[in-house]
Symmetry: C2
Subunit: 264 residues, 2 copies
Amino acid sequence: MSIERSSCKECHQSHHCIAAKLSEAVRGNKVKDISRHEAIYVRGQRIFSQSACSSACYIVKSGSVKIVNVDAQGNERIIGFYLPGEVFGWEGVFRGSFPSTAIAMERSMVCKIPIEYLEQRASAKPDFIHSLLKLMSRELNNVEQLAIRLTRYTAEERIISFLLDLSQRYADRKLSALYFRLPMNRTDIANHLGLAVETVSRVLGRIQHDGDLTIRGRELKILNHSRLLSKISVAPNTEIRYISEENKTKVLELDPKCLSGTSF
Amino acid sequence: MSIERSSCKECHQSHHCIAAKLSEAVRGNKVKDISRHEAIYVRGQRIFSQSACSSACYIVKSGSVKIVNVDAQGNERIIGFYLPGEVFGWEGVFRGSFPSTAIAMERSMVCKIPIEYLEQRASAKPDFIHSLLKLMSRELNNVEQLAIRLTRYTAEERIISFLLDLSQRYADRKLSALYFRLPMNRTDIANHLGLAVETVSRVLGRIQHDGDLTIRGRELKILNHSRLLSKISVAPNTEIRYISEENKTKVLELDPKCLSGTSF
DNA sequence: CGGGTACTTGATTATCGTCAACAATCGTGG
DNA sequence: CCACGATTGTTGACGATAATCAAGTACCCG
């Protein structure tokens, strides 16, 4: 039994849901008859597979999902984790096929919306185009943040920054930001952050010993949020100052064209 | 003198240009009267600044541009480099302000197109929505690739993969893939790849010594492309096999719903 | 030609990965 | 309810890769 005809009204994620937004934008009423496909996946099951031809985006309704990329040598890297209410799968739009695989990390309900459908409806309601672009842009922001996290951050900084990011996302969903359960195991955290499992274990142990958090298995309690925050990126590497320097010396050479009307 | 009224016809980048695509899509004719703003920037000059409120995308017409993120401690990280024909600035759409700064790496001509304009025109021609989404999705693919490059890759693998990526991008622009000039200095490469300048220098020296490429200053010549390719990611770390394993054991538990109709 | 930036090379150190062994937890079935 | 095996997590010893510190060379631009 496909759940396509089920109402989105009862969906706990409707306030995050792009389909709901679309429906509201198009009709001004509450969500109904969205062309979508709902399914339940068990732990370890794929939602889509790398190089599968399709383009759709997906919304996590419950559970959690990880996006994994496998390279030519078979090495896997976890690009990201998705929590209830979050949208994933935008990376498939470019080639019309997915550059990575999506895997349910626990029993999860996922809602699938084809891109073509979004595009069609978007053209009917211009405001919605902006919502679409914003959603994708948000994803771009997130991945850039990940790239930054992986560059020059030490193991401890990566882990703290990762945990604080999770915490923030739980807070965004009106859940506790200080006490939650990690949806992934240590191996996945290590893989995602480019570290060895042992390092993750050790660093978590050290942070716990410092009294900034408690972690038992996947149960996490943040005890000293501000101190954790202050620990990430305390000038780990040489501070390079291209922006200020170069601008200082070069601003005088400004081409007149650059100054002309900012409006257009 | 604003160049807004200048024709896009003479632009060498029109075949890469989103504005040109838009114009064609909307009118079926060649590029004209695109609402855009062209400007020349000197080396080190900012095209947009972190947290500046604006949302537009930009096309490199000549020269090259780097996107730099500055964190709370003042540490800078280069997110990406953009070559002629490439589009940047999508990350600003999410918040309506830029999470990073764009800096010209040499005398560069850059074309600016406001997002609102793209959105308006896109609603007039539905096909163009897809082009827009594809462009952003491509950017997402690129940044994910960067994240992968930064995770678990050794210094040598990062550098080779970075150079081969550049090479490919030059090839895409009908320029030589084997002989080109790096638009950035070693410090920028190091920053971008999360390495120390000395490491970049040493690794480049080593690769050169192996006879796979020649590099003098910024002039690069790839001598053995296939061997370089084979050097990236030769199983640097333990091969983790969640996908196959978990799927093998769990596929039997498949919820019937997951198998129902792939079409919708 | 001189000054500054960019790049290279060497010596030393530290972080983190690897290998190895062990402990805790979970899920399943008797 | 407990026992079992399997998965997951922890801890220690050791080594390798790359960062840091330091010095020196090449290059570019005025």
